[in-house]
Amino acid sequence: MTPFDAATPDGYLLVLALVVPMAGLLAAFALGGRHAERVALLALPIGFAVAVAIAAVVWRRGDALVYTLGGWAPPLGVALRADGISVALLLTTAIVIGTAALFAHAEFRTAPGQPEARAPLVFWTFLLAVWAALNAVFLGADLFNLFVALELLTFGAVPLVCLDGSAATLQAALRYLLFALLGSVLYLLGAGLLYGAYGTLDIALLAERVHAGPAAWAAAALMTAGLLAKTALFPLHLWLPQAHAGAPAAASAVLSALVVKAPFFIVVRLWFDALPALRTPAAMQTLAALGAAAILFGSVLALRQARLKLLVAYSTVAQIGYLFLMFPLVGPTPLGSAAWTGGILQAVSHALAKAAMFLSAGLIAKALGHDRVAGLAGIGRVLPMTLFAFGLSGFSLMGLPPSGGFFAKWRLLRAAIEGGQWWWALVIVAGGLFTGGYVFRVLAPALGGTDEPLTPCASVSRSREALVLALALLSIAIGLLPLASFGLLQIGRAS
């Protein structure tokens, strides 16, 4: 990362990535009711096109895209910056939110003549809010700006948790909000200490000025603890399963695939870009140890869940752990950059696979009228396409070739073994076995037959099944373009 990033041509694209969903959010809220859905469905393709355009420009330039707001350069002004990893997550976000919106169209549609209801309005406006906040996180180049983006994300995500307004989801939303608030205030405290010690919060400038000292260490510890509470890394994951399992399927997919990735992304920015001077082996091993604990703990709990959506939510707890294994493995060597690619690829492939998994769990629950794992027998006959999608996304989470999850975990595994940190390799392999276990727990009864044929209590449209399958196929296909993504993810990095 070069200091004093000057604004680049085409930098206005970064502004568009924030303005499109934000304008959609305001328009949807102002027009209200039945228009919210139309505004959202209009904003989605435009935002997707903007994300693709940013990716194309960054790819062509081979360097980060920068925009300084109002023409004021840091440290006085605030910059937006898109490098390789921003682009990867911007595209993933656009794809997952787009699919979730098309999926939710059947549930949250206000047909002509039908009275307007609260839930559709909330869903469409807050979907756009979450999208705007995610883009702001991925493009932020200033730690305070990232704080504001994180808060927007929390305020967008909490109402999605309690869309149905039942007591259980209200409790889940409140618990999520309290965890998130504690996280953000700790993050803000850390940011205050950094500003007091170094006089800037611009990431590139901080990287130059920060040296290991009590203020920097205290700030890094506070900010990391706050972010871990928001990303639900063990042992701060307590809020996640109830919150993600209680939301409607489309909202669960967005929450579990994308929303928890944003704080993780800031942890990456913090340790690799803003505070490289603090990247001591002890600190990195601690982060990875928490990740390893999350993998084992989350997987075991996923194996024990009686309800499908809770099983998928605990699987998220486990898969977030994998993301943190990249911290001790990344370095300036080719092996280190393979670990970097593996970590980011894990974030992307988990997002696609987990969204597909939550959406297929939603369809299964709709067809059965319940989502008890014990009562899944025969569903494979009724919803073959959905179950196939569930299996494919399970393959990606397990890390079977040639899925995206395989290439992510393979790179981390290789970096661990060849880098002499074999203990992380054990965790990766054990996690894969556990994942295989809980996916099998769902697939085995679902593919089995029943004595009397299962009669679904609600019909599921083919187009929704096809959407879920497309997303699952994408989580496999992402593994087939490893070399292309390898170059992209390194763009804009110093080493």
């Binding site: 305020f155 259980a168 209200l170 309290l178 205050g192 809770l310």
Partner: protein
């Protein structure tokens, strides 16, 4: 002991009290109040940082002050959202606690 140190210690005490409350208090409303105490400590810290940055004819560094204003708005909005959720929860269940629900699925 100069004023900055005294205020800095005050901020540390507020942060400590707030953090203790957020973690130890079981009721959500008390947690929320403790969060606001904690926030008060953080904002006081920003005030001290601003004060220490006085230079070039300014009485204080305006950047941390701008951050405090943003932080206050965010904390206010967050508190309002939490209170709204809490009231709705009370309307639904006539109690306002975060007791784990008895659905048996969570272990």
């Amino acid at each position: 002991m100069n004023p900055a140190t005294i205020f800095g210690l005050c901020a540390a005490v507020l942060v400590g009290l707030g953090l203790f409350g957020v973690i130890v208090q079981p009721q959500p409303l008390r947690k929320l109040l403790a969060f606001n105490v904690l926030g008060g400590g953080v904002f006081l810290l920003f005030g001290i940082v601003a004060r220490r940055g006085e230079a070039a004819g300014f009485g204080a560094d305006p950047v941390p002050q701008a951050m405090v204003i943003t932080g206050l708005v965010v904390a206010f909005a967050a508190t309002a959202l939490a209170v709204a959720l809490l009231r709705r929860l009370f309307d639904e269940t006539s109690r306002a606690t975060l007791r784990p629900d008895d659905d048996g699925a969570d272990s």
